[in-house]
């Protein structure tokens, strides 16, 4: 559950927490775009480091590290797949003349695979910062004020809010099945995956039941009666929010410029 821990909001106050979710979301999208346009290791390292101050200013280092640790397994998988398949069909990877046989070609392949894993880490990093510092309520408000239909906003915020509830329920179900002699850690890989069936089915069934109950309870409380809703709190972009949006735009322009007009050396070439 550690990946989810890294996405779970905790109510604290910091300059980052106080930012408008729309500005933060714009920043995340910019990060996303930059991470995706570059295929080289150097810019991704820069991108990874650029976000660190945000984490520290927000004071969410512990949770952030936990989410990265949770993402580690997938990152390793991405690295391994890229390495193996890059080796099998290395076409298109700069610095490699197929087949892969010299040391520098191996290094290029290694760098490429690392890049892909790091790209994933950068994406997790920025989403994690966003979700760790944005309360579900603010997120819902931001969606509403962006003219997303209220039903969708509500479904979205409810889903986010129920993540910890589901995590707790998963734990209870695991306990109940362990009490019936289920050993999750036993057997080979396939068996271990199958071991999770007795956990997943009750979890899904109970989530569906819960959502039906929630729907009934809400309808009995006249949900959706008024077409035009008003909010107690209204989000307003302030100077800091515009500043973040502006910096994000600058970063995007700079990144696109570098990507179009500057050839980025591979890390190995750079180190040499």
């Amino acid at each position: 559950m550690s990946v989810f821990d890294g996405l779970r909001f905790r109510r604290v106050s910091s300059p980052i927490h106080r930012l408008d979710p729309r500005a933060k979301f714009f920043y995340v999208v910019v990060m996303f775009v930059i991470a995706v346009i570059f295929n080289e290791l150097l810019p991704l390292i820069v991108l990874f480091l650029v976000q660190m101050p945000f984490v520290f200013v927000a004071g969410v280092q512990r949770e952030w590290i936990r989410s990265l640790r949770g993402a580690l397994f997938l990152a390793v998988m991405i690295f391994a797949f890229n390495f193996v398949f890059g080796y099998l069909s290395p076409g298109g990877i700069p610095g490699i003349e197929p087949p892969v046989d010299t040391l520098s070609e191996y290094l290029a392949l290694l760098e490429r695979s690392l890049t892909m894993a790091l790209r994933f880490a950068v994406l997790v990093e920025s989403f994690s910062v966003f979700f760790l510092t944005t309360s579900p309520d603010h997120l819902g408000l931001a969606l509403e004020q962006s003219h997303v239909p209220y039903e969708f906003c509500f479904a979205f915020t409810t889903a986010v809010r129920f993540v910890p509830v589901l995590a707790e329920e998963a734990q209870t179900i695991m306990d109940a099945q362990k009490a019936r002699g289920l050993e999750l850690e036993r057997g080979n890989f396939i068996k271990r995956v199958r071991n999770y069936i007795p956990i997943l089915i009750p979890l899904i069934v109970s989530a569906i039941r819960r959502s039906l109950e929630l729907a009934e309870a809400m309808e009995s409380r006249a949900w959706g009666t008024t077409k035009k809703r008003t909010n107690l709190y209204v989000l307003k972009m302030r100077r800091a929010d515009y500043a973040l949006a502006f910096v994000s735009v600058l970063m995007l322009i700079f990144a696109v410029y570098v990507w179009r007009f500057i050839s980025i050396p591979s890390l190995i070439a750079f180190l040499r």
């Binding site: 209870t172 306990d175 009490a179 019936r180 002699g181 289920l182 009750p202 069934v205």
Partner: protein, 273 residues
């Protein structure tokens, strides 16, 4: 025998659920653990089959330290029926559901068949043998959960809130069922808020509050003591409340059983008339 020695338990989020709790439950004993929400009842019973390991202190089940063995090993002797049957049901038929644990414990297919038929019959579920557990009513699902635990014939049976959501008939059935289990020399441990049920069953009562055991003793002693009852945030059975209110007439105040109460009233009427 279950021995809880000086056990403290703190959840990862820092909540101290048990504080230096000590308790001994002998074989064949019938114990009811009572107390308000958050008193640590469920945390305590989760130590009996190793689902939780003490932060400090130790729990011994038949002399085996729960820290040293897996939940599956302990579960072979300690059956645990969870409060909400929906947290465990997942098979396509009631039969498969009841057989699940038996397969986990490595019983032979022939034995499994026999045990499943026995447990299903015991809980009056034979007609639902091939039905999906999800199609059954709440009470029936609870019985399936119970059957799925009794099927492997554990020495200790733990029931977490067994009376919640059960109608009177089902409760009476449950009571008779517990009596039957005790007659088979099984240890039965229930966690409940249902004082009337406890008054009818007359078990050994353990009262808990804020992670501590406040008192333990027989049901009559525990449920008729106003101080203890207040401390554990429960209420006395209605019979007791009536007799406590009539104390100045010289009626006994330590009654929890309807039959005893009628006896006492008849005696009183005879004496006064």
């Amino acid at each position: 025998m279950i021995e809880v020695k000086n056990v403290s338990f703190t959840y990862p989020n820092g909540v101290e659920a048990l504080q230096r709790v000590s308790l001994t439950i002998r074989n064949g004993e019938f114990v009811a653990i009572m107390g308000q929400n958050g008193a640590g009842k469920t945390t305590l019973i989760k130590h009996f089959n190793g689902l939780l390991k003490p932060t400090s202190g130790e729990v011994l089940v038949d002399g085996v330290n729960t820290r040293k063995v897996s939940v599956a090993t302990l579960a072979r002797n300690v059956g645990f029926v969870f409060q909400n049957p929906d947290h465990q049901l997942f098979c396509e038929t009631v039969e498969d559901e009841v057989a699940f644990a038996l397969r986990n414990f490595g019983f032979k297919e022939r034995t499994i068949k026999k045990r499943v038929a026995w447990a299903i019959n015991l809980l009056d579920l034979t007609e639902y043998r091939k039905t999906s557990p999800f199609m059954l009513s709440g009470g029936e699902r609870k019985r399936v959960a119970l059957a799925s635990v009794l099927a492997w014939n554990p020495k200790v049976v733990i029931l977490d809130e067994p009376t919640i959501g059960q109608d009177h008939k089902q409760k009476e059935r449950l009571r008779q069922f517990i009596v039957q289990l005790i007659a088979q020399r099984k240890t039965v441990i229930i966690v409940t808020h249902d004082v009337e049920f406890v008054a009818e069953c007359n078990p050994h009562v353990v009262l808990m509050a804020q992670g501590n055991i406040v008192a333990e003793g027989d049901a009559k002693q525990m449920l008729t003591n106003p101080d203890l009852v207040t401390q554990a945030s429960i209420v006395s059975p209605q019979i007791t409340q009536i007799f406590l209110g009539l104390a100045n007439l010289g009626l006994p105040t330590d009654l929890i059983d309807i039959h005893e109460a009628r006896e006492a009233l008849l005696n009183f009427l005879e004496v006064t008339s």
